[in-house]
């Protein structure tokens, strides 16, 4: 009887895993199949030459290059805001907070994690209006504002993964350096953080993906259909997810719709590039923490 139930559970787990694999494969396969045909240099750079566009000598008017640049800058900026705050908060919760404070803050961050992105976008928009009214007329929805709003969106992931990674370390790891006379801070810096880098990394990757994908927040805080390569932090910008969104809702012909698929492939590639960069940085950091002499 027990063997039968066990087989059933294993079978179901296996089936679930296969479903997931199939889903991922079919999504990516479908995208590639549809988008492949319209994916070429003209789609990215339009009528401008690639070199001129990359060196920012000429603006690209009918290509995806500005949206790619916008997304890249936006994601990097958001993650750069969110990482120090998220990791520091995670450290505080795991290592310093007492049980009561921890309970309260955990609840707060769960609530923050549960806030729909459109609400965060609305908040960003309200902030822009407030700043515009009370501080300077030049402030409007812009790249800086979007990146800050996105940082708030992904903060809970970073906090939670950092906290979990630190709390998951076994006591033997925790006590090793302390027994050698390390202060609490030295222990965190030299041992606990380097040992949790892999865990923290999964949070960073989640954050990158979320920032690259989100449309609701940026729609309300600064993204526009046509702005060119972002020139300043205080200007509006283009982004790939927004391009995909409006192409799919306002396309004029099947050709144009296909560019949406191509844009999706480019967005995926940008994510992969960022993930790889994050992974390399993690490897380098681990090396510096443990092996550099």
């Amino acid at each position: 009887m027990k063997g039968y139930v066990e087989k059933l559970v294993i079978g179901f787990s296996w089936f679930s895993m296969m479903t997931l694999l199939f889903a991922v494969a079919s999504i990516i396969g479908y995208l590639c199949l549809k988008g492949y045909s319209s994916l070429d240099v003209r789609l990215i750079f339009g009528d401008t030459s690639a070199l001129d566009a990359l060196l920012l000598r000429k603006q690209v008017f009918n290509g995806l290059f500005p949206a790619m640049a916008g997304t890249l800058v936006l994601v990097v900026m958001s993650v750069v805001w969110a990482i120090p705050v998220g990791i520091a908060t995670g450290i505080y919760l795991a290592e310093y907070a007492n049980a009561r404070i921890k309970g309260v803050f955990n609840l707060f961050f769960d609530v923050l994690a549960g806030i729909p992105s459109i609400v965060i976008g609305l908040f960003g928009f309200a902030l822009a209006v407030f700043l515009h009214k009370h501080f300077s007329r030049t402030i409007q929805p812009c790249l800086l504002l979007s990146s800050v709003a996105l940082a708030f969106l992904v903060l809970p992931y970073l906090i939670r993964t950092t906290q979990m990674a630190l709390e998951g370390l076994p006591e033997s790891t925790r006590f090793g350096a302390l027994a050698l006379g390390a202060t609490k801070l030295q222990n965190i810096y030299y041992v606990l953080l380097p040992k949790s880098l892999s865990g923290i990394m999964s949070g960073v990757i989640l954050a990158i993906g979320r920032c690259a994908e989100d449309t609701a927040v940026i729609m309300l805080t600064g993204v526009v259909a046509s702005a060119g390569v972002p020139r300043s932090l205080l200007s509006s910008y283009e982004a790939l997810p927004f391009y995909i969104y409006y192409i799919s809702s306002q396309y004029t012909g099947p050709e144009e719709l296909l560019t949406g698929y191509a844009a999706s492939i480019i967005l995926l590639i940008i994510c992969i590039v960022l993930f790889s960069a994050a992974f390399l940085i993690k490897k380098r950091l681990t090396y510096i923490a443990f092996y550099r002499t």
Binding site: G176, L178, A179, L180, G181, A182, Y190, F290, Y291
Partner: protein
């Protein structure tokens, strides 16, 4: 207590009570430990042998929901000193009271960096001095000859017995006056354990050693004195 002690008292424990999550583990313990001797601490599992060691290096302070009362004094520079005094920082204490755990716990770095790690924590920058002290500590731990040609290799590639001696060397590099060993050979094979026992007997000339052990024959071989923790509980 034990009235037959002849040497200098190195550690004096007075009325020590320890509880974890409201459960009392150690209750009103009074005990003295002699200088330059190996004291074996024995008793069945779960009576608080390791916990007792943690009250001597204050490591328990990092465990939530743990509580201690009583007094622990250790003789440093001639006078008994209350280690829980406010002005005595736990990191300073742990440089004087070294600890080696049951399972070897080298950090995932090179052999050299592992042994030099405590010096790095103390802010030592002089590379010549560090190299000299690392060699000294490895020699004291009977490990130098085995690793001198591969100091830059990862410590994790060493055998269990070598890793444990590496951890002992790492504790010795700060020249502690007391060494706490929490079942230092229980994860090792017989031969590796023998080397470590030999090492312990050699170290006691300069260091006061408290060792938790499960093996009675080992205790017979290394200990000058045996303390049975479960009898403490009865004696209260």
């Amino acid at each position: 207590m034990n009235t037959t002690q002849t040497g200098n008292i190195k550690i004096r424990v007075t009325n020590l009570t320890f509880s974890y999550k409201g459960r009392r583990i150690l209750d009103g313990i009074n005990e003295n430990f002699e200088e330059f001797a190996v004291t074996a601490i024995i008793g069945p599992s779960g009576v608080g042998k390791s916990t007792f060691l943690m009250t001597l290096n204050r490591l328990w302070e990092n465990i939530p929901e743990a509580q201690m009362s009583g007094k622990v004094e250790i003789r440093f520079n001639g006078g008994l000193r209350d280690i829980y005094e406010r002005s005595f920082s736990s990191s300073r204490l742990r440089k004087l009271v070294g600890t080696v755990f049951q399972k070897p716990n080298p950090l995932p770095m090179s052999i050299f960096r592992n042994v030099a790690f405590p010096l790095k924590l103390s802010g030592e920058k002089d590379k010549g001095l560090i190299a000299q002290k690392v060699e000294g500590a490895l020699r004291k731990a009977y490990l130098w000859d085995e690793v001198k040609d591969r100091l830059a290799q990862s410590a994790l590639a060493l055998s269990g017995g070598q890793q444990q001696r590496l951890c002992i060397a790492r504790s010795l590099i700060l020249e502690p006056e007391v060494l706490l060993l929490d079942e230092p050979t229980s994860s090792l094979d017989e031969k590796a354990a023998e080397v470590i026992e030999d090492l312990i007997l050699h170290l006691k000339e300069r260091i006061t050693i408290l060792a938790v052990s499960h093996y009675l024959d080992q205790v017979k071989r290394i200990a000058d004195r045996v303390v049975q923790v479960d009898l403490w509980q009865v004696r209260k």
